[in-house]
Symmetry: C3
């Protein structure tokens, strides 16, 4: 556990701008929480008497529950606020919502929002640390951190690690946060997407772009599959699910092109038969999808502890 690492920012709005030392500091502390979560008595009192508000403008049971568990297990009181049935529906602006919550003296606010940049905007109106739980197609920093922690606990070093991120790169906050994190840590990052879902500027982020998955996946150490939002079909980005799976879905045949011990990752929830086949998703030798979920709680505990 890190002796005296201090996180130098008030908020965690994204991975962009974090240093290698910041990322390692979070991961080091997170490691210590893995064991705690496996115990019967998972409770610490580090944050007792503090208030964490989970403010979700999009529903996400998985992420909200992960933050809720992280807060409760550190002793905080946790309040969940879903957009449905809230003041936002009555026409209150984002900034009024922020100022209102702030007046109740929360100690942490996690925010998920469908618009890129909304979380940063909100953070400017409050006095407590804000954690971005996913904003539009911008960033989802705790996802990238839990992915990194998973890679690290599997004994891989980031320096020179070959990682392929595959799927809807254009709209994916998970991809963006992972690109920032992995390139900062010295990994060799490739992104794979159909031409319609590949942003034109992407190589400026220090990655190599592939539209042919078979080429992109060759010899990689880690494969991160992205969830395909099915609404991309109706928006004419893609011809059909069958076609998508054939070209960009991970199956045993394509997997053979990667290193033999390549890790298979996915932020979940998975679409079986869309971006990933069941033989691959359930391959207990190589799929670390459930490790990601487990370590997600530990990473969020570390973030709360460091910002608290």
């Amino acid at each position: 556990m890190p002796a005296n690492y201090q996180f130098p920012h008030r908020d965690l709005l994204g991975i962009e701008g974090l240093s290698e030392r910041d990322i390692s500091g979070i991961l080091d502390l997170a490691e210590s929480y893995i064991a705690l979560n496996r115990k019967q008595d998972k409770k610490q009192n580090l944050l007792s008497g503090r208030t964490l508000i989970n403010l979700f403008f999009e529903s996400s049971t998985r992420t909200r529950t992960s933050f809720e568990l992280a807060g409760l297990r550190l002793g905080a009181d946790v309040i969940n606020m879903q957009v449905s049935g809230s003041a936002i529906e009555k026409g209150e602006t984002l900034l009024d919502t922020a100022a209102t919550l702030n007046a109740m003296h929360p100690d942490f606010i996690t925010v998920r929002h469908p618009e890129s940049g909304a979380v940063m905007l909100l953070s400017q109106k409050v006095n407590c640390p804000v954690i971005n739980a996913g904003d539009g197609s911008h960033e989802h920093p705790t996802q990238a951190l839990l992915d990194a922690l998973t890679i690290r606990t599997k004994g891989r070093k980031f320096k020179g690690l070959k990682v392929a991120i595959c799927g809807d790169i254009k709209h994916s906050r998970v991809a963006r946060s992972n690109i920032y994190l992995l390139t900062t840590m010295g990994a060799d990052v490739r992104v794979i997407a159909p031409p319609t879902l590949m942003p034109p500027y992407i190589e400026k982020l220090g990655v190599t772009a592939y539209t042919d998955m078979r080429k992109g996946i060759e010899d990689v150490d880690v494969i991160m599959m992205l969830r395909l939002q099915l609404e991309r079909m109706s928006a004419s980005y893609l011809p059909s699910i069958r076609e998508y799976f054939r070209l960009y879905g991970l199956n045993p045949e394509k997997l053979q092109l990667a290193k033999e011990d390549a890790l298979i990752m996915h932020p979940g929830p998975i679409n079986r038969g869309v971006e990933i086949g069941s033989e691959v998703a359930d391959d207990i030798q190589r799929s670390v999808i459930l490790d990601q979920v487990e370590l997600g709680v530990a990473v969020r505990q570390a973030v709360l502890a460091l910002l608290g």
Copy 2:
């Protein structure tokens, strides 16, 4: 309170398969929680540091609240997950949801699901005790246990007790769990339903079937009325509410055929004027409907304590 009874199963998926000793063991422990819930300070720390997840694929405020109170009062952290706005809506399979939750290291999961068997399926993918909070038309074991505790606290003995269960036997998990429990404890169980709502095989469960309520109710010690799902009307199982109430609703006139001190039970929420008349539901001498609600919390505390 039981000195050293140990529940021999990891989960509570149903009453079927429980022994008389298991049922008595749960009821004995539950009795000790009744007094706790009547105190001002209702808190114990038996489960402190543990996590209970209430995973409800159907909404049921009453049952969810009862489990939530049971968990909180024993000191656990409680997380509520409703299907609405969750990953399940995004197309995640039940088993993926189970594996995902499991990775977060809950200590207990209660599950309500509209499909019979779904809870057992889910339990096979997780490492912690699972409590069936109602699955399809299969079982609702804590309901039968709280019904039994109510009968017992009213001073009735199960051996030879005449119990009539009346209503939509075909679709009722409450009926099924009660049939298993009461026959195991030696009661004499009758089921009463219109021919369209009576399953053909039902007598194989050791009960006597009646389609004439007046005959079925004769001389019984306990009358358990079932909630009529109003959608049965549109599905043509029944001609009309008025007709149903005339033939199968409990009113003072039919009640006279039962024993003078017969207990009136209902799992709630009640449909006044559909399956039960208000004079009967509100009869403070004989209706124990609110006792059932009260003892429901105690039963759930006992179940959590025994599985913990």
Copy 3:
């Protein structure tokens, strides 16, 4: 802090009927919680082991969260029950819901309901203190108390204080509770509304009615703007939003008619450009809208503490 004030009622159903001493007693105690909420460790154990149920038949994130924080910070377990997905939707009556909840031995129930009088009705079926969190167009007592606390912490005395309440007086529980409170405390209360939204009997409550906002606001110490429910437009109470804002919206020009140091209040969430202009709502010299939110938690803590 008050040495030994005892609140003489079991419930807080409204401000009507409270004495000047009751109101001061609540405000005095609430003052002591303001500092607690500004600390890092906001937790007391005054209500530990007790259960607070927030029963909301209308959604209101702001009020529900405020009560939830108040309960949690005093150490209580808090259960949220929203009407959606609840037994009420299955046709259970209000009184059956009340009796059911009561059987679970809550120690406090807060209730929000769209019908005037529903909270009192419910309170008659339960054994614990009930707090009205807003019922129809009847009362919203904690809102009036937090408004009063805000006025007091800004150094104003109630005796002779000129307060104008402006907006949809006819349908506003906030207006009604404030009228009762402020007249009891000796303030000089004016109500301002369009003729269609002014109840005919209103002057019997001891206030002066104005349909001309410019006259009503003249020389006042406090301006309380009410939220305009936009559905009033479609119900033909009002010609248009633009017209409403021109005649009854608070803007810098109308504000000049009030005292120079007049406080601007609003129960939130605000409709910018409908009942209040942004220059006024965000005027950090005079707008105390966020103070109201902050003190709302303190007032609710005081109410729970006094009823507990």
